[in-house]
Amino acid sequence: MDERRFGAEVTEIPDEVRVRLSGDLNARADETLAGAYERVVALGPRRMSLDFGQVGYINSTGIALVVRLLAEARRDGRAVRAIGLTEHYREIFRITRLSDFMEIVEGDAA
């Protein structure tokens, strides 16, 4: 499978902002993800949902980007949850303990 271009679409839904991620979450996702969070900040929700339903690959640099995003959200007092993670990436979020700091929702919607 070839690398798939990363995308991040920010949509406002009641009580939260959802960031729908797609493609490969690796070093190349850096600017797109940072830009998405800027839009989230402008909307100012108390909760941000990261939808990984269309993400097929996350590497360690992608994990680092999620850590950075989480740190910024926590600094801003914003709850973060992850939806649509595959079982494998839920395991990775657990062993890296990302799941201690964000709600992990099984399935692709909540």
Binding site: A27, Y57, L70, R94
Partner: protein, 541 residues
């Protein structure tokens, strides 16, 4: 001018005509201005909490004339001696936060009604401002103290990590997995693997009463003692007895250590253990789940304890679980305890070692729910002895294949997909395949970054071998930047979120958690990372 602070209230002022108020959150005397009028002098004195002057001022409607004040008060006497004639209480939101202390008027006349009205107005306006200044300073001091404590805790966490094994023993025919989850930044649980003569392995699992820093300090000491005693004896009972003798005189009050010490002979599966009040290990055999029983008092409670030894044989295909209280004593939102029956039930499922551990943690998190605040440290160590290989060898296909990729950023995805395709027919369970793919991807990323320096003309070689027992992937790079550093700090999400550790640095951590073993060899011009993952057992489904 007066400053009042808790718990000692200190009065600080100037015994002369009208003086300015100053923030009152410090007990240090306020410095005299350089141009101070020689007629103005400052005084500083402490007022005891019990001095009736404080209660009097608290409810006084305005300035208080000291000459007319009839009060048995050491503070009043001291103020009079310092030349104070009039005290104006500074009250903010019902709390006395200071006073303005005035000496006699220079005209030697009494303070007039207008003077008093002016002073009352001044006090009403100054008191809230002084209170705000006090609060700001208190908060700044508290923030600095919090930061100092957090920094100390970060250091303590790093120190404690040094006491946990950096690597698990790599034993042929054995799968060993361990989990350590402190309830706070540092904890009192520990586990250790100690190499012993004859290829045997000492295994310690312990739990110090209490949590946090006190428990971590006792844990560190116990860990050191056990290591030292294990080098002097080959008897688990003798090792615990000696550790107990050393710990008893230095154990803080109301603290003790439960500990299980086992010695495993990987060749025969024979395990000998002694127990200092710790949870009994579970062994899953063909006949069901059994406990290995041995009795003994926890370490550090009393001297001259004899520790009973017990022994057993871990047959091929059997699992062993050593664990601390934190798992069985975890509660769900309805305050129901996880408990031993649930743990025992989880043990009945035949599974590979690392998957048993994963399943236990999944069971735990499913039980406690997402909002669980971990109550106690949790330590789990699982050992699994592989089933007989001859039967597997007849059933499991084997292969060796290899390919090269350009050493260019992003090509780890290519290596991952090609390895995935190469092992597609081996029947790896989907979860194991995903872990292998992640490990291959991360190891190839390192090879590209360090071995090829991102150059497309410097290739990375990948070899996939399937033996009857395992899938082995060897990733060889040209070592342009030397070896991949393996001394990097263990990634810690708490530190990363606090900005005390950079967000990156997950690669090696992920690899080590994804496969059963990772070995690195180098011959100067190349470096090879070998990833090994056991193939599924027939019972894995």
């Amino acid at each position: 001018m007066t400053a009042l602070t808790r718990p000692i209230r200190r009065l600080l002022g100037r015994a002369a005509p009208p003086v300015e108020a100053a923030p009152a959150s410090s007990t240090e005397p306020i410095a005299e201005p350089a141009t101070a009028d020689p007629a103005i002098s400052s005084i500083g004195l402490d007022i005891a909490e019990s001095d009736p002057l404080l209660a009097y001022l608290q409810s006084a409607p305005g300035p208080v004339d000291l000459a007319r004040l009839e009060l048995e008060s050491p503070a009043v006497t001291a103020l009079r001696e310092a030349g104070v004639a009039l005290i104006v209480p500074l009250v903010s939101q019902g709390e006395l936060i200071g006073t303005l202390n005035l000496g006699p008027r220079l005209s030697e006349q009494d303070y007039s009604t207008d003077d008093r009205r002016l002073l009352t107005t001044l006090a009403a306006q100054a008191a809230p401002a002084i209170r705000v200044a006090q609060l700001v300073r208190e908060q700044a001091n508290e923030a600095a103290e919090r930061e100092r404590m957090e920094q100390e805790m970060r250091v303590a966490t790093l120190i404690q990590q040094q006491f946990l094994p950096r690597e698990l023993p790599n034993l042929p025919q054995w799968q060993i997995a361990a989990y350590y989850g402190p309830a706070r930044a540092v904890g009192g649980d520990f586990y250790d693997f100690i190499e012993m003569p004859g290829g045997r392995i000492g295994i310690a699992v312990g739990d110090v009463t209490d949590k946090g820093v006190p428990a971590a300090l006792v844990m560190a000491r116990t860990h050191s003692i056990l290591r030292a005693e294990a080098s002097r004896s080959e008897s688990p009972g003798a090792i615990l007895a000696r550790a107990n003798e050393l710990l008893v005189p230095e154990m803080p009050a109301r603290m003790f250590v439960t500990c299980l010490f086992a010695i495993l002979d990987p060749e025969t599966g024979r395990i000998v253990l002694a127990n200092a009040g710790h949870n009994l290990p579970y062994i899953r055999t063909d006949d069901g789940v059994v406990e290995l029983r041995a009795t003994g008092m926890p370490l550090g409670l009393m001297a001259d304890i004899v520790y009973e030894e017990t022994e057993g044989v871990i047959a091929p295909g059997s699992n062993v679980l050593l664990y601390s209280d934190g798992l069985v004593e975890a509660h769900d939102p309805a305050q129901k305890m996880f408990g031993f029956p649930r743990l025992r039930q989880a043990m009945t499922i035949d599974d590979a070692g690392s998957e048993l551990l994963d399943r236990l943690l999944e069971d735990l998190h499913g039980f406690t729910g997402p909002d669980w605040e971990q109550e106690d440290d949790i330590t789990l160590v699982t050992l699994r002895r592989a089933s007989g290989v001859s039967q597997q060898a007849a059933e499991a296909p084997s292969l060796t294949t290899g390919f090269s990729i350009p050493g260019e950023d992003g090509n780890e995805r290519l290596a991952m997909d090609r390895v995935s395709a190469a092992v597609a027919d081996l029947g790896l369970a989907p979860a194991r395949l995903e872990r292998l793919k992640t490990a291959v991807s991360e190891a190839t990323m390192n090879a590209i970054e360090y071995g090829s320096q991102g150059r497309a003309d410097v290739p990375v070689d990948v070899e996939v071998e399937a033996t009857p027992d395992a899938v082995i992937v060897r990733i060889t790079d040209r070592a342009l930047s030397g070896a991949v550093p393996d001394d990097a700090e263990t990634p810690d999400i708490d530190l990363k979120l606090a900005g005390a550790q950079k967000a990156r640095g997950w690669g090696l951590f992920l690899i080590k958690n994804m496969v059963d073993s990772m070995d690195v060899t180098t011959d100067g011009s190349t470096q090879t990372v070998t990833l090994t993952m056991a193939r599924k057992e027939p019972s894995d489904g």
